[in-house]
């Protein structure tokens, strides 16, 4: 095969495509993705990006059941600490505007060795080289001397890696390496003198932008102790499991069916299943429901509703939507939960606006466990009127 001839013909064939402007289509899809991501944080982000003063009314109220049927487990008391990936440069730390003497990382990082001068937590290596971000710095005392444990994120194209090292606060010289290569760093701390603790994750799939790495990654806290010569691991696991058990939440729903003459009450059945090998704690069902649908009936006991503002201002074609969250408690491996929900539409109308959907998504509340097979696609219940 003559590769040059193949190259030329591929280039010739590629020229046949008509060039079109995809900017508006891409932005529309981006907004849909944000809605599908189905988190209040994502919705808030859309509002912020759009720069539109959307009035969110975070007024939560309990949905009063028409009769007390405790079909749900009570909501569990949760930690509000959610591990998140540290990936933004810190600008205020003293070392974020200093020259650090980066050590060699054993060939696992393109950032170093050598001097790197950071400005606002960022150092650009010359000639279009990698970008080093100082994403976290915490004080640590090493052999009685002040130092800082620093998490660096090294970006090269679409590849990145994390390194953790300790530098002297006064000179920026390296005291010792802690972690030479990590896919994700969630947290960095110093639990005591001569100690550094790092919360690590085992995966970060850049090709799946909407994967919740916080959920899909294994989390491990490893501690390291200064031994007079360097840092050596003193606690926590030393490796990630190659095939860890995980939870996998799946949701399905029937159509939301209304009958004319049935007092405007519609019904649908939502099924949530944990198809993983790990019990799923703190499972909640999040529903985005057109505001013209009012929850009713006993199945909503313990659920909360938040009126979601006026998304029509930023998302043309969507109608105002309420967010309803129902806690389902824990789902054992293989456990399947089926819940019937009722809504009132007053009046029952066949002229439902476009985009008036009831979408359902099963989620784990934080703190997250190891959930795989993440789906950002909530299922939608078609609204049917007979």
């Amino acid at each position: 095969m003559n590769p040059n001839a193949l190259r030329a013909d591929l280039a010739d064939l590629a020229e046949q495509v008509a060039i079109v402007d995809l900017r508006d289509r891409a932005l529309t899809t981006s907004r849909r993705l944000a809605v599908r991501r189905a988190t209040l944080a994502a919705v808030a982000l859309i509002v912020a990006v759009a720069g539109v003063a959307v009035v969110l009314r975070p007024l939560s109220r309990d949905i009063a059941p028409s009769r007390p049927v405790p079909t749900h487990l009570p909501a569990t008391t949760e930690s509000t600490t959610v591990p998140t990936i540290i990936q933004r440069p810190v600008a205020t730390d003293p070392l974020a505007n200093a020259t650090l003497d980066l050590p060699a990382w054993g060939g696992t990082s393109d950032c170093g060795p050598g001097l790197a001068t950071f400005r606002n937590g960022t150092h650009l290596f010359p000639n279009g080289g990698p970008q080093a971000l100082l994403v976290k710095a915490v004080p640590v005392t090493v052999a009685g001397q002040p130092a800082e444990a620093v998490a660096l994120m090294c970006l090269v194209g679409n590849h990145h890696s994390y390194q953790v090292a300790v530098f002297r606060t006064d000179s920026g010289s390296a005291v010792g390496q802690v972690v030479a290569d990590a896919a994700v760093v969630f947290e960095l701390s110093s639990p005591g003198p001569d100690q550094v603790a790092v919360e690590l994750g085992d995966r970060y799939d850049d090709a799946v932008p909407f994967s919740d790495v916080e959920k899909a990654s294994q989390h491990q806290v490893r501690t390291y102790l200064w031994n007079g010569h360097g840092f050596a691991q003193s606690g926590g696991p030393t490796a990630f499991a190659s095939d860890p058990p995980s939870m996998h939440l799946e949701e399905t729903t029937t159509a939301l069916v209304f009958q004319h003459g049935a007092a405007g009450v519609g019904r649908m059945t939502v099924t949530v299943r944990n198809s993983g090998r790990l019990a799923a704690p703190r499972v909640s069902l999040r529903m985005y429901v057109a505001a013209l649908l009012e929850p009713t009936g006993s199945a909503w006991a313990g659920c909360t509703i938040a009126h979601g503002g006026q998304p029509t201002q930023t998302q043309p074609g969507l109608v105002p939507t309420d967010t309803i969250v129902c806690d389902l408690g824990s789902l054992a491996p293989g456990e399947r939960r089926e819940i019937g929900y009722e809504f009132v539409m007053d009046p029952v109308t066949s002229s439902i606006p476009d985009g008036a959907l009831c979408t359902v998504m099963a989620l784990q509340r934080p703190p997250y466990g190891l959930e795989t097979g993440l789906s950002d696609d909530p299922v939608s219940a078609a609204i049917v009127i007979h």
């Binding site: 001839a5 591929l10 495509v17 900017r23 970006l155 194209g157 090709a207 932008p209």
Partner: protein, 173 residues
């Protein structure tokens, strides 16, 4: 606003190149548009943390190639295999008919490859990526890139024997 402007500039600057690669991956104008649109949308979601345009370019391409593989696994997406290339203005001169026929032959032959094979060929021979870069873009090993390339070329030879003559090593074009 600055972020939006930089994203707009990125989209308008890079869409032509992305569309050309997507056309080779899909063999269809509309599927190519859908593929690039989906990749650009995900890039928009990640725009704040991409920081630099070269990161955005690499990110968008990686998403595009991975989406192509992911779409292959989704049964509801039906690939358009039989359509013909739409006539383009200025491309119908008689002296170009042989070239047009060659293009169509190559397009049809590419569509007989698996998506993974097509992706490897496009990355290696259209994007001029090294085996290592191709492996990174697709998230596979270099060995897989080598084997997929060999299989893709062999399949191309079987699918379009007439192209084999043209692509024989040393054959003047």
């Amino acid at each position: 606003v600055e972020s939006t402007n930089s994203y707009d500039a990125f989209v308008r600057a890079r869409t032509p190149a992305l569309l050309r690669a997507a056309y080779l991956l899909t063999g269809d104008q509309h599927l190519a548009e859908d593929l690039v649109q989906a990749a650009l949308a995900r890039t928009h979601r990640a725009w704040r943390r991409l920081e630099r345009e070269e990161n955005a370019e690499a990110y968008t391409r990686k998403v595009m190639y991975h989406l192509q593989v992911a779409w292959w696994r989704r049964p509801r997406v039906i690939e358009s295999l039989a359509g013909s290339v739409p006539e383009r203005a200025g491309r119908s001169e008689p002296d170009l008919s042989d070239r047009a026929a060659l293009r169509e032959t190559l397009r049809q032959a590419l569509l007989k490859l698996t998506r993974a094979q097509r992706a490897v060929l496009v990355l290696r021979f259209f994007e001029d990526r090294s085996e290592n870069e191709t492996a990174q873009a697709l998230g596979v090993s270099i060995g897989t890139v080598k084997s997929q390339t060999a299989r893709a070329l062999a399949r191309l030879r079987r699918a379009a024997p007439e192209l084999t003559d043209l692509y024989l090593e040393g054959n003047a074009r």
